[in-house]
């Protein structure tokens, strides 16, 4: 009896499945049928409205190919359709969420955990490969593989044809969240007045025009730019990301030796992965202000995003600078947030078409504009180097994809060119452009090179003026395909990096900045 009942129930379930399947297929067929009909009707209507004007009839016979205009039209249409298909990956919408979840969990936690668990010594062949790309390993100490004696691999290459920064000059570095250079190219994307203030600063400054971000996301971007290091260790799910377990040599550590006051102001949380601790306890910062410090008069804005508004950040910066009466020079680093998902900007740009990412970028620009106007007229204009760059390129959010889909050649999520504008005191070197292909890792060595400072260091970047022209960095390639040997090598290199970070072997424990 029970067996028969089970059989009946299975049959009924099967019938229910077939019914549901039939329903889905029917809807699909109906949808396809309606779509085909609509397309036919539109084609017919276009034909009647005057064929040849907007309709592209692509027949690749000689006659058509000889019609230059028609052929170009056809090519354009094909490119547009191709771009629409290519600038997104429809497969992500049909993959299994549960599988994605567990796979990403495994990749994030266990893989990194396993790979970082033992010390890896790289083979000489790999070390030679690194050197060819401008990274010297094991030159001082096997335990601290990145340490080297100088910021130059070959001192004879030190360039003197470069801007100079007198030690004692104030330095302000602004890291704009996710600012790919593309967003500053109004002539390409066509949204006029999207970031007028940053563009103006770019026009009135020295600029590196071919700088790529080395890392993603923000924390790694800051470590790359300020500590010239690729930080790859990201793990631990229970509670939060683990605080960064190692110490880097930041620009702030070096400048402390010259008695600089060091301040970091950011819109995001100061507690996040122990950022405040990292900056103040290990990287030589005297003051650190994050969303928690800036929160009190900003609660309503915090509710709309996950950090304070950039307006608040720049207002606070202006206030801080106005109050600064110290005799010491300072290094001030600022990190913005409005252009980070979920893009909670205070201003809407009329040409954004409701795209919150563009509104976020526009809001950051507005906030920066206030600072920029203040800075130009302030007492700091003549004794401060102002640098504006990005922490990294824009990520692959829906807002980004939908905006860039019409500019396929510029679709470079995560890794892309980023601006690097430097305004020297008094406007020296304004308008000069340097097109050296470089990466954000190069920022700190380049600043030290301009300041004519040298020291033992674990930097992975090179001075853009002196040595980067000799070592072309790899362009980011997210679609790597490895054979087995390459895969093993890549795994070894990743293990080498991860273990070095985990065991805090970037800088020797007793390391002290000794300037040459």
């Amino acid at each position: 009896m029970k067996l028969k009942l089970a059989l009946v129930v299975i049959c009924i379930n099967c019938a229910a499945c077939l019914l549901a399947g039939g329903f889905v297929y029917s809807l699909f067929s109906l949808g396809n049928y309606i779509r085909d009909k609509k397309m036919e009707a539109r084609a017919e209507a276009d034909k009647k409205a005057g064929a040849g004007k907007n309709v592209v009839d692509l027949k690749l016979d000689n006659k058509a190919l000889m019609d230059r205009e028609k052929t170009f039209d056809a090519a354009k249409t094909i490119k547009e359709s191709y771009s629409k298909v290519k600038t997104g990956n429809p497969q992500i919408y049909t993959s299994l969420p549960e599988m994605e979840f567990f796979r990403s969990f495994y990749m994030f936690y266990f893989l990194s955990h396993q790979l970082s668990s033992r010390e890896v010594t790289l083979d000489p062949e790999i070390v030679r490969g690194f050197l060819k790309k401008g990274q010297l390993l094991y030159s001082m100490d096997r335990k601290y593989p990145f340490m080297k004696k100088s910021i130059y691999l070959d001192r004879s290459r030190k360039s003197y044809n470069k801007p100079a920064i007198r030690p004692g000059t104030n330095i302000v570095i602004i890291f704009v969240e996710s600012l790919s250079s593309f967003f500053l190219k109004e002539e390409i994307h066509g949204v006029k007045g999207l970031m007028p203030n940053i563009r103006e600063m770019g026009r009135e400054s020295f600029a590196f025009t071919d700088m790529y971000n080395s890392s993603y996301p923000t924390l790694k971007g800051l470590i790359a730019a300020l500590g010239s290091a690729l930080y790859l260790l990201d793990e631990e799910v229970a509670g939060t990301r683990i605080p960064v377990p190692c110490r880097f040599l930041f620009l702030s550590n070096v400048l402390k030796k010259l008695d600089y006051t060091t301040i970091h102001i950011q819109a995001g949380s100061e507690r996040f992965i122990g950022m405040k601790n990292l900056f103040t306890e290990r990287e030589g910062y005297d003051y650190f202000y994050g969303s928690e410090s800036l929160l009190l008069d900003n609660i309503s804005r915090l509710e709309r995003g996950f950090g304070v508004d950039d307006e608040k950040v720049f207002d606070f910066t202006i206030e801080w600078l106005e109050k600064y009466k110290g005799n010491k020079p300072f290094l001030l680093t600022i990190s913005t947030i409005n252009s980070h998902p979920p893009y909670k900007g205070s201003y809407k740009h009329p040409g954004s078409g409701g795209n919150p990412m563009l509104d976020g970028l526009h809001s950051t620009d507005k906030a920066f504009g206030t600072f920029w106007e203040f800075f130009k007229k302030s007492r700091f204009s003549g004794n401060t180097v102002l640098i504006l760059t990005a922490d990294h390129a824009m990520g692959n959010s829906n807002e980004y994809t939908s905006f860039v889909r019409n500019f396929e050649d510029h679709y470079k999520p995560f890794f892309d060119t980023i601006p690097c504008f430097i305004r020297f005191p008094g406007g020296a070197w304004n308008g000069v452009r340097n097109g050296t292909h470089c990466v954000s890792l190069d920022l700190t060595p380049t600043i030290l090179d301009m300041m004519n400072l040298d020291l033992a260091n674990p930097f992975m970047g090179l001075s853009i003026f002196s040595e980067r022209p000799y070592y072309r960095p790899d362009k980011a390639n997210l679609n790597l395909k490895y054979d087995e040997k390459q895969y093993e090598t890549a795994k070894k290199i990743l293990g080498f990096y991860l273990n070095t970070y985990r065991e805090d072997r970037i800088l020797p424990r007793d390391f002290k900045v000794q300037l040459y």
Binding site: V8, V9, A16, F28, Y93, P97, R241, F306, H340, G395
Partner: protein, 170 residues
């Protein structure tokens, strides 16, 4: 053969409620699984479901089979197992697995909709810091909670009904 079919017919008539509950559970699971993809494609992507037709149909087939297997397993346990305690444990397990799946799907749907990608290592990097899950306090996310709640209530109700019917028959 005729006798066999008559027998089956008789069994069906006598256990109509249990059979209907099974079918309802199958359909609920089918709708639960398929609507996840349908809604994310419709509301959260630049594609329409027709654009990703082949992939969608393939996924739908998989879900039809999965729903059939899960629902049938639940029915068979309710019919064959005598002890109410074991049935209750099974229902608890079923609901726990379903709830885990719902939470994963809710967060993943939100990640795809608000951040443009599945839960990935970047998500984990931010997960328990405010911005990884910040969308869960967005007003739009109310729809996610309501949907998840409704599906859970529906599955719970069907399983409970099956449990009561099977106990009454025993």
């Amino acid at each position: 053969m005729k006798a066999f079919f008559n027998d089956i017919k008789k069994v069906f008539v006598e256990n109509k409620k249990m059979a209907m509950c099974g079918a309802l559970l199958t359909l609920t699971l089918v709708v639960y699984f398929i609507s996840w993809h349908f809604t994310i494609i419709t509301f959260g992507s630049i594609y329409s479901v027709l654009d990703v037709g082949d992939l969608f149909i393939r996924r739908a087939n998989y879900y039809l089979l999965e729903s059939f297997l899960f629902a049938s397993a639940a029915c068979i346990v309710m019919i064959t197992v005598r002890k109410p305690l074991i049935k209750r444990i099974f229902i608890g397990l079923f609901l726990a697995v379903f709830a885990v799946s719902e939470i994963i799907r809710m967060v993943d749907w939100g990640a795809l909709y608000f951040m443009g990608n599945h839960i990935d290592s970047n998500f984990w990097a931010h997960a328990f810091y405010a911005d990884g899950l910040v969308f869960l306090i967005a007003k739009e996310s109310l729809a996610l909670y309501v949907t998840v709640g409704l599906f859970f209530a529906a599955v719970h109700r069907i399983l409970k009904k099956m449990y009561l019917i099977s106990n009454a028959e025993n």
